[in-house]
Symmetry: C2
Subunit: 300 residues, 2 copies
């Protein structure tokens, strides 16, 4: 199954499997020129997808919400993802599925309904949104001065590529010497960061924002872990003040899992290292990867 | 100069000129996966660019604001645009310049500073945001229920591809049988539509929104035309009520110029045809295309 051409990753674009370096979209594709596109990312760890059905559920919902219709049904999408991982011969992988508006069938049309929507998918080696060495000491988190785009303008539960407000935060964070950033909304409530949800821990209880955020699958897993461990946890409003006053903070993403934060702006939490409750959740998160309920072994 | 391979359009991607059908970006380019990209569009009419320097000014500003640095300087960008139009042998054209973040030089990096930014450009046959037959009767305009993304979250004066709020409006407009849509902000002030600015005419005076909008070059031209014709004109707040109560409405875009609107929601303006002041401005706009101050003949 393994093929050296696919070592850097394997992709599927419009019915063809190609090495990742050859996977492209036209510069006139509306997925690019209007960011008229939805996506999802699932990870493979030790040869198995983690919560694949949850990711497929969310991807299908995102497509429906933006009225995107691709040729592949759910079973075929799953087949394509398996095949991409198989071709790239990856044991741990970052696996993307993308539905783009495509281009109008008639040149010059400005009607979304005239476009041929299509699926792109790819598997590449594992990516962490926070590098492993930074995870070990805990990330230093910047609070972006740019407000998160309101949910009423762009629904953040539809996984999308419109990251400008998040990128503004990242640019600022890096200039200030921080590892990453989180955006608050215009009312001062914490939302999310570039590619991750955020959690605050205070007096043994866990909270994650109820707005401006994707319904993360890792977030969902953490809430279930808290439930199973008897840790009080809620999706609820989180003020900027609560973030700055937290006992512990961690972020969650399919691309990396549970990642501790040790500093928020000038505040140093605990002993400037990942907090104990964060590490308990981190450990459990990786233990759950062995649970057959969540594992879908990659077909070879 | 003319080459049949380039008949559908000519593009420049990373130092190479290719037929438009071969102009692509990687599916992992951050210009796609984060919409981390700025662009501009200039038009060519009767063999000359219109206000090319204004477009280059705005493009350079957009890049600087997003900290995008491409290899080509301003002179080289202009050369590339001339060459694209020449290769495609177009007399009337839609000419795009795009600066994308690109990809990290090191796989897996999440740092914008690690990315290799680059220029894409292309010339394709003329496109109108409103088809000519619709322009003739006046467009039927829908007011989107989705609020425009606030300027504080995504600066609309930096020309960007993050059209989700605008696309939501278009999807709704087409479902309701309208030609196109305009978004208001959350406070009920009119902003812009997908790819155009909007103008309202009331009692002989012209207004265009002061927020939620690109600083359009066509918009600027219309304001200068008004000045030259002694028509009172201003960039000022425009309420939704003012739009619905206007005597005339027209939209402006590089992709089409000055385009009249005859209906706003259920309101029919004038005689359900383009208004007289709109048509005066329309005529003058096209006359100004012969003015050497604004013309840059395409080099052949």
């Amino acid at each position: 199954m393994s093929d050296p051409h696919f070592a850097a990753g394997a992709a599927y674009v419009k019915d063809r499997f190609v090495p990742i370096a050859e996977a492209t979209i036209p510069v006139t594709d509306w997925g690019f020129t209007r960011s008229d596109v939805v996506y999802d990312v699932v990870h493979v760890w030790k040869g198995a997808f983690f919560r694949l059905e949850d990711h497929l559920d969310r991807f299908e919902r995102s497509m429906a919400m933006r009225r995107l219709k691709i040729a592949e049904d759910r079973g075929r999408i799953a087949d394509v993802l398996h095949r991409c991982v198989g071709l790239a011969d990856l044991t741990d992988a970052f696996v993307a599925m993308v539905a783009t508006r495509g281009r109008p069938r008639v040149f010059g049309s400005r009607r979304p309904a005239d476009c041929e929507n299509y699926l792109i998918a790819y598997a590449v080696p594992w990516i962490d949104v926070i590098p492993k060495d930074v995870q070990a000491r805990g990330a230093h988190l910047w609070i972006a001065s740019t407000p998160r785009v309101p949910d009423s303008s762009v629904d953040p539960t539809i996984k999308n590529y419109q990251w400008s407000d998040l990128t503004s935060g990242i640019l600022e964070a890096h200039e200030e010497g921080f590892d990453t950033s989180v955006n608050c909304d215009a009312e001062g409530y914490v939302a999310e960061g570039p590619g991750f949800n955020i959690f605050v821990v205070k007096d043994g209880a866990v909270k994650t924002p109820d707005r401006g955020s994707l319904g993360g699958i890792t977030r969902k897993t953490v809430l279930e872990i808290c439930d199973s461990l008897g840790i009080p946890a809620a999706i609820a409003p989180v003020t900027r003040a609560a973030l700055e006053d937290a006992d512990e903070v961690f972020i969650t993403s399919t691309a990396g899992g549970v990642m501790p934060v040790s500093r928020v702006m000038t505040r140093i939490m605990g002993n400037d290292r990942p907090g104990p409750l964060s590490m308990t959740i981190y450990d459990t998160y990786w233990q759950w990867h062995d649970d057959p309920r969540y594992r879908t072994p990659v077909r070879t």
